[in-house]
C-alpha cells in the first residue's frame, strides 16, 4: 500500500487527501489529511470517493482516429501528426482565428498555461478559453471593474469569522461542502447571522435567519433595493466610502430608483423582507457576501456581480477578516485556469493581450514574434461561429460542451460543421462522439502539477500511479504538439520547470515554486520568493486603487415564462455528481445515489399535473424535450423547476437557452421558460 498526498479533483474548495494505492497500482481508497488547512481531516462524499473512477474500465487508453466514420486505434505519432497538420490546414484556409483552443478547469495550472502558450505562441491566436466562461466569467469582469481583482477577496477560514453571512446563489453544502459546513458551524456554534437569498430551499436555508425566495433573475433590483434601504436609513459606512471608493454619487442615483416597495413587486417578495435583509447585513460588524452561479449565470451576470461588490463596499465590508465578496469557484482548478490566462483577453496573471508591452514581454520570454493582439472568440461565441461555418477547427482538452454548453442541438450542429475536432479526455463523452481524433489523457492521480483553489491557494497535485495503458498527462501531449508544430520553446524536464516559467512571467505567481507549496500551498498574489502569500485581498488599498461603485439597472432575463411555457427552468449541479458526470457516474456510491436524470418540482406543481414522486415526466422548452424523474420536494418553489446537468440521457442543456451576457458572454443557465407533462 502506498499513500500519495494530492488535491481533490472535484470542487474549488481544494481539500487535500491521501490516495491509497495497492500493489497492482490500483487506487483502493482515500484518507483525509488531518493537517491540511482546509480539509482538517475532513472530506465530503465526493472527496471520499475521488479515487473510484480512475481505474474504471471505460478509460480512454489509446489514441483514436476516425477513419471512414469509424474510430480506429492508432499510435501517438500518427494521432499527433494528424492533429498538427489538420489544425494548420484549417488555419491556412480560414486564417489563424478559424481554430479554437478549449482549455480545461479540470487540468493543472501547468497544463492550462501550456494550452494558452500553444494557442498564442505556436498557433498565433487568442482563441483560447475554457469553461470559466460558463461559470464565473461575469465574476472576473465584474470584480475586476469594481475591485480590481476577479477572485474571492477572502479566505475559507473567514467563513468562521463573519458575524453575518449573506449567501446568494451557491448551494454551498452540496457544491463546496466543506465551505458550507464552516458556515453551518459559525451559525450553530457562534450564532452568526445567516441570510440566504435563493429560490430553492437549500440546506443552509433551513438554518437561516432570513430566507428570501425571490423570482429567478431579479437579483439586480433586490440588491439595489437593499442598498436603497441602507442609504435611506443611514447604515452605510461613510468613512470607508470616502477613503477607499469612488463613484458613490452615481450609485446613490441608481439605487434611489429601487425603493423596497417597487423592488418587492419585481422580485415577488415583500418590502419588509428587503428591509430586514438590509438591516441585518448593515448591522453586522463583519458581514460577508458569498455568491456563485445563481448570481453569475444570467444575461445580466456582470451586473449582478457588480451589485454584490457595491453592497460590500457600501457597508465597508472589504479588506478585513470575515468580510468580502466571495465568489465560490466550482471546479478544482477553474481559478487556476483563469489565472493561467486560458482566456481570450489575457495572458497568465490577467495581463492584457491588447497591451503591446505585455505582448512584448511574452514574445521575449517565449522567444516568438508577433503574438496576436486581437480578441476574437470565447467558448460560447466560438460555438456560434462554428455553427455559422466561420470557425473550422477545435481542440478541446478535458471539456464536454455537448453536456455543459447551452442548447445541445445548437452545439451538436456546431461540432458537426467543424472540419476538424480533436478531443483530449479521460473517458469517452458525447462530445468525443463528434471528434476526428481522440487523445487519451490521464486523470489527476497519474500526474504531477498544481491546482489553485477558490481561495487562490496554489496546491500540489502528485502522481500516485503510472498512466493507465497508453494514456498520457495533458502537459506532455501539449508539449509534443508544440514540438511537432515546429516550436522549440515547450520542452520541459518536469512540471516543476513549467511552474518556474509561470512564476517568471506572472507577477501574482512570482513567488510560487514547488518547493514552497509542498504541503499547504500558497495564496496568490505572491509576487516574490519571500512573500508569504495573501489571505485577504484589498486590505489597505484595492487592487485597482480605489474601489469603484458600478451601479446597474434591472434588465429582465431573456426568456420569461408565458402561457405556453409557464415554468421557470433553472439548472445546476447536485451533491453527488459533478458536471457532465463522466467521473462521478463511474463511482459506485455516487452513481448509486442519483442514478437517473431528475427535475426538482414543488409538491403543488406536481399535484396539479398528477405527477407522482419518483415517476417519469417530461420537461420541455423551445429548444427540446427531456424525460426525467420527478423529484417532488419543497426545495423547489412553485412555478420553478431545477434540473442538474449531469445526465447525458436526460441532458438539462438540451433545454437551456443560448442567450449570453453582452460583456462576459456567459449563458443564462438560470432562467428559461419551460413546460411539463406526465410521462405515460
Amino acid at each position: 500500500m502506498k499513500r500519495t498526498l494530492t488535491t481533490c479533483p472535484y470542487c474549488g474548495t481544494g481539500c487535500m487527501f491521501y490516495l491509497l494505492v495497492d500493489d497492482k497500482d490500483t487506487l483502493v481508497g482515500i484518507e483525509p489529511s488531518s493537517e491540511h488547512v482546509t480539509a482538517k481531516g475532513q472530506l465530503c462524499v465526493k472527496g471520499w470517493n475521488a479515487h473510484h473512477f480512475v481505474n474504471h474500465p471505460d478509460r480512454l487508453t489509446t489514441p483514436l482516429i476516425r477513419k471512414n466514420g469509424i474510430l480506429e486505434e492508432v499510435g501517438w505519432d500518427e494521432a499527433l501528426d494528424l492533429v498538427v497538420s489538420k489544425l494548420k490546414q484549417a488555419q491556412s484556409a480560414g486564417g489563424k482565428d478559424s481554430a479554437m483552443f478549449v482549455s480545461s478547469a479540470k487540468t493543472t495550472n501547468e497544463e492550462n498555461y501550456l494550452m494558452m502558450k500553444l494557442a498564442r505562441a505556436v498557433f498565433k491566436t487568442n482563441n483560447i478559453d475554457h469553461c470559466a466562461r460558463l461559470c464565473h466569467s461575469s465574476t472576473v469582469i465584474g470584480l475586476m471593474e469594481t475591485l480590481g481583482s476577479g477572485a474571492m477577496t477572502n479566505s475559507i477560514d473567514c467563513m468562521e469569522k463573519a458575524d453575518c453571512i449573506f449567501v446568494t446563489g451557491p448551494n454551498t453544502t452540496e457544491q463546496h461542502p466543506l465551505i458550507g459546513t464552516r458556515i453551518i458551524e459559525n451559525v450553530t456554534k457562534n450564532g452568526a447571522k445567516l441570510i440566504v437569498a435563493d429560490n430553492r430551499k437549500i440546506r443552509l436555508a433551513r438554518l437561516a435567519d432570513i430566507h428570501v425566495r425571490w423570482k429567478n433573475g431579479t437579483d439586480v433590483p433586490f440588491l439595489n433595493s437593499i442598498m436603497n434601504v441602507i442609504i435611506a436609513e443611514g447604515l452605510e459606512d461613510n468613512e470607508f466610502i470616502s477613503k477607499r471608493t469612488e463613484n458613490y454619487e452615481e450609485l446613490k442615483i441608481v439605487v434611489a430608483d429601487y425603493p423596497p416597495e417597487k423592488a418587492a413587486e419585481i422580485c415577488g417578495i415583500t418590502a419588509q423582507e428587503i428591509v430586514d435583509v438590509a438591516r441585518m447585513f448593515a448591522a453586522a460588524k463583519r458581514a460577508m457576501i458569498v455568491y456563485s452561479m445563481g448570481i453569475t449565470q444570467h444575461t445580466h451576470g456582470v451586473d449582478n456581480v457588480k451589485c454584490c461588490a457595491n453592497l460590500a463596499m457600501l457597508t465597508g465590508n472589504v479588506g478585513s477578516p470575515g468580510t468580502g465578496v466571495n465568489p465560490l469557484r466550482g471546479q478544482n482548478n477553474v481559478q487556476g485556469a483563469c489565472d493561467m490566462g486560458a482566456l481570450p483577453n489575457v495572458f497568465s496573471g490577467y495581463q492584457k493581450v491588447t497591451d503591446p508591452d505585455v505582448r512584448k514581454k511574452f514574445e521575449k520570454a517565449w522567444r516568438v514574434r508577433n503574438l496576436p493582439g486581437e480578441i476574437v472568440h470565447t467558448v460560447t461565441t466560438a460555438i456560434n461561429a462554428a455553427a455559422e461555418g466561420s470557425l473550422k477547427a477545435m481542440y478541446i482538452m478535458g471539456e464536454n460542451p455537448m453536456m455543459s454548453d447551452p442548447d445541445q442541438n445548437h452545439v451538436r450542429e456546431a461540432l458537426e460543421k467543424l472540419d476538424f475536432l480533436v478531443v483530449q479526455d479521460i473517458f469517452p463523452t458525447i462530445t468525443s462522439d463528434y471528434a476526428d481524433v481522440i487523445l487519451p489523457a490521464t486523470t489527476y492521480a497519474e500526474k504531477d502539477g498544481t491546482f489553485t483553489s477558490t481561495e487562490r491557494r496554489v496546491q500540489r497535485v502528485s502522481k500516485a500511479i503510472e498512466p493507465i495503458n497508453q494514456s498520457r498527462p495533458d502537459w506532455q501531449i501539449l508539449c509534443d504538439i508544440a514540438a511537432l508544430a515546429g516550436y522549440e520553446g515547450m520542452k520541459y524536464d518536469s512540471v516543476s520547470d513549467i511552474m518556474d516559467e509561470i512564476a517568471s512571467v506572472t507577477p501574482i505567481y512570482g513567488g510560487i515554486s514547488y518547493e514552497r507549496i509542498d504541503m499547504i500551498g500558497l495564496q496568490w498574489p505572491c509576487p516574490d520568493r519571500n512573500h508569504p502569500g495573501t489571505k485577504i485581498l484589498h486590505v489597505d488599498k484595492f487592487s485597482r486603487g480605489l474601489g469603484k461603485f458600478s451601479p446597474a439597472r434591472y434588465r429582465p432575463s431573456v426568456e420569461m415564462p408565458d402561457e405556453e411555457y409557464p415554468f421557470v427552468l433553472s439548472t445546476g449541479r447536485s451533491y453527488f455528481h459533478f458536471h457532465s458526470g463522466t467521473m462521478t457516474r463511474r463511482s459506485q456510491l455516487l452513481d448509486r445515489e442519483q442514478r437517473f436524470p431528475y427535475v426538482e418540482i414543488s409538491p403543488q406543481d406536481a399535484a396539479e399535473h398528477a405527477i407522482a414522486p419518483g415517476s417519469w415526466m417530461y420537461v420541455a422548452t423551445r429548444r427540446g424535450e427531456v424525460k426525467v424523474k420527478a423529484n417532488v420536494t419543497d426545495v423547489a418553489k412553485k412555478g420553478v423547476l431545477f434540473m442538474p446537468f449531469h445526465y447525458k440521457e436526460g441532458p438539462a442543456n438540451l433545454l437551456t437557452i443560448n442567450a449570453l451576457d453582452p460583456v462576459a458572454n456567459i449563458p443564462e443557465y438560470k432562467v428559461c421558460a419551460a413546460k411539463i407533462r406526465k410521462a405515460q
Partner: protein, 330 residues
C-alpha cells in the same frame, strides 16, 4: 519492579526484527504530518500523539478490497497474506472496537475476507503518557496481545497472550523501573473516561425507552451534509457495498465502505426505500450503536474513540448528539 522497558530506538529495532515473521504496521507521520498506521519506514515513527484519526479497523477492513475474482466462468476467493500482521497503535478504545468487530464478522457466517487479514495478527496497544497534547491514554489491560505503556518517554512493555509473551522473550533484557511509575499511570487510567460512558449510557436509555422524538432527529439532520465521514472513520462501522469491475483478464468483485447516511443505502431497485428520509438515517446512525446493538449484542457498540466527533464537519458526531439529546430529554 522488573519490567521490559524500551526506548523508542530499541522499540524501532524490535519492530524491524519482527519483520521476518510479520507484516509490521506502526503509526507513522506522513508527508504533511498526518499520522496513519503505515509500514515501518513509510514515515517517521509517530507512536506518541494519541489515537490515529484513520478508522483503525481499516487495517483488517480496508476502504476497498476484492472479495472475489471471476474468470472463465470460475470463481476464486482471496488468499490470506503470506505473513500475518503485527499492528502497533491501537488505543484501549480501539482494541475494544476491534474485539467487537471480530465478533461481528465471526457471527453465524465467518467473513473469511476479513479473517484472512485478522487471523494470527498481533495487536499491540499504546497507552500511558503519550496522548494528544500530553493527555493520558487509558491502559488497555488485556484486550490485546501486547501493550506499550508510555511513561512520557520510554515504553513499558506488557504481554497478555502467548504470542505477545514469546515476542517479549525474543527481546530479552529487562530493566528496573520505579514501581510507582506504572502504578500511578494505571491509577490515573482507571479514573478516565467515566464521563463519556455515563453520557452514552444515558443516551442509550433514552433511545431504548423511545423517548427521543422525530423533531430531534430532524434538527440534527438539518445540519448533516451526508459527507459520510462519521461512518467511514468509525472503527465499529462495518457496512459495505459490493460492485463488479472488469480488469484485463477477468472481473473482480470488490467491496467498498458504505454509509447508512446515504439515501441509496437501502433503496431497492423498485424505488422502495425503508430509509428514504434524512431524519431516519440520522436516527439510525446513533440508534444502531446505542440501542439496536444493545438489543442484539447486549452492549453499546460505541467505544468513545472520538473519531466521528473529530471528523464531522458540522459538529454532530455521536458524543455531541448524545450531549444534546440528554440535555433535552434526559
Amino acid at each position: 519492579m522488573k519490567v521490559l522497558v524500551l526506548t523508542e530506538q530499541k522499540l524501532m529495532e524490535f519492530l524491524a526484527s519482527a519483520r521476518t515473521a510479520y507484516d509490521v504496521r506502526v503509526p507513522v507521520s506522513l508527508h504533511d504530518g498526518t499520522r496513519v498506521i503505515g509500514r515501518l519506514g513509510e514515515g517517521p515513527l509517530a507512536i506518541k500523539g494519541g489515537a490515529i484519526n484513520q478508522k483503525i479497523t481499516s487495517i483488517f477492513f480496508p476502504h476497498m478490497e476484492t472479495v472475489l475474482k471471476c474468470s472463465n466462468g470460475g470463481f476464486e476467493s482471496p488468499e490470506p497474506a503470506p505473513k500475518p500482521m503485527l499492528v502497533v497503535g491501537f488505543t484501549k478504545q480501539d482494541a475494544d472496537c476491534l474485539e467487537f468487530i471480530d465478533r461481528f464478522y465471526n457471527d453465524k457466517f465467518r467473513d473469511d475476507v476479513y479473517f484472512n487479514k485478522r487471523d494470527n495478527a498481533v495487536i499491540v496497544c499504546v497507552s500511558g503518557r503519550c496522548g494528544a497534547n500530553g493527555k493520558l491514554l487509558k491502559v488497555s489491560g488485556d484486550n490485546c496481545d501486547m501493550e506499550l505503556i508510555c511513561d512520557g518517554q520510554d515504553y513499558i512493555v506488557r504481554a497478555y497472550t502467548d504470542v505477545g509473551k514469546s515476542l517479549i522473550e525474543d527481546i530479552g533484557s529487562t530493566e528496573i523501573v520505579p514501581e510507582e511509575t506504572l502504578e500511578q499511570i494505571e491509577k490515573e487510567s482507571d479514573q478516565l473516561c467515566v464521563e463519556g460512558l455515563d453520557l452514552l449510557n444515558a443516551a442509550s436509555k433514552l433511545l431504548l425507552e423511545d423517548k427521543v422524538p422525530d423533531e430531534f432527529w430532524q434538527s440534527i439532520s438539518d445540519r448533516c451534509i451526508a459527507c459520510t465521514s462519521c461512518n467511514l472513520a468509525c472503527p465499529t462501522c462495518t457496512c459495505f457495498d459490493v460492485f463488479d469491475r472488469t480488469n484485463g483478464c477477468g472481473i473482480d468483485r470488490w467491496r467498498i465502505w458504505d454509509s447508512c447516511q446515504l439515501d441509496g443505502f437501502m433503496r431497492e431497485a423498485s424505488g422502495h426505500n425503508p430509509m428514504g428520509q434524512e431524519l431516519i438515517r440520522t436516527r439510525r446512525r446513533i440508534h444502531h450503536k446505542l440501542a439496536a446493538d444493545v438489543t442484539r449484542w447486549g452492549h453499546i457498540t460505541c467505544y468513545q474513540c472520538g473519531r466521528c466527533d473529530n471528523v464531522c464537519p458540522t459538529g454532530i458526531g455521536i458524543m455531541s448528539v448524545c450531549k444534546e439529546m440528554v440535555e433535552k430529554y434526559g
